[in-house]
């Protein structure tokens, strides 16, 4: 249990990281696929996901990812600043 420090560090380059197991990498691939525009989960990724997860599990994961997209994007209209942290800096993992 728990996200390791190595995983935190390697999140932006998870594909090449040895600190994520195949299951975790699949979940991260799904997160990336659903977050980019246009969102698209190709057949290969879906098949790989189905090998590891049941349909119920996939529904949960997809819902979590989609919901996080809602939460993360909602604030952009109102330019909500980080709350309680330093001004103007937001989770800055450089992935773009």
């Amino acid at each position: 249990m728990g996200i390791t420090e190595e995983q935190l560090r390697d999140l932006a380059r998870f594909e090449a990281s040895a600190h994520f197991n195949e299951e975790e990498k699949l979940v991260l691939r799904l997160a990336v696929a659903l977050t980019r525009t246009p969102a698209d989960v190709d057949d290969g990724l879906f098949a790989a996901l189905r090998n590891h997860f049941s349909e119920r599990e996939l529904v949960e994961l997809t819902a979590a990812i989609a919901w996080e997209n809602y939460r993360a994007r909602f604030n952009r209209t109102f330019d909500v600043q980080p709350e309680g942290f330093s001004e103007g800096k937001f989770c800055p993992v450089p992935e773009r």
């Binding site: 390791t4 109102f78 909500v80 450089p94």
Partner: protein, 167 residues
Amino acid sequence: MGENLRTGPGGGQRLFNLETGDTARAPPMVPWYSGTAYFSRNRTFQYTVAAGVFRATSVRAWHHYVRCRQGVAGQPSADDFEKGRNGMKRTAGVQNREAGLRARVIFWLAKRRLGRIPLSARIQARDPKLLAAAARMSMHIARPGAVSLKLKELAQVKVAALVGCPF
């Protein structure tokens, strides 16, 4: 103001560069990372890093940790704290006095759980039914289900990082 904020060594410095993988200046496990983090003046959230394993009760805590590790969170000044406390630039959302019963209940729950009412909740309270639905969805997602919470959190943090969400 901000006097109860916990301080830690290296506050405000760049501690870790994720792009270059420069960990040379990342400090060892200091209280900053292994103790209590500030969240509001009256409430803190807990996270610990022990034996290289991060444990926290919320994605928000995880974000704080990442931000500190990347050296961009740093230690907030009193001004930062006050601005951040409102988190406000374009709207202050619904204030307590103008909130209806539904929004008040959710504000109360949020304050109990998070120590304060997030601005995003105040904004969504312009549509109280939306706020209620969003709160319910958030709580549902945060529960363990068929997949582990770790997997869900991993995916959520990745999304937040890609979108650039202001935690």
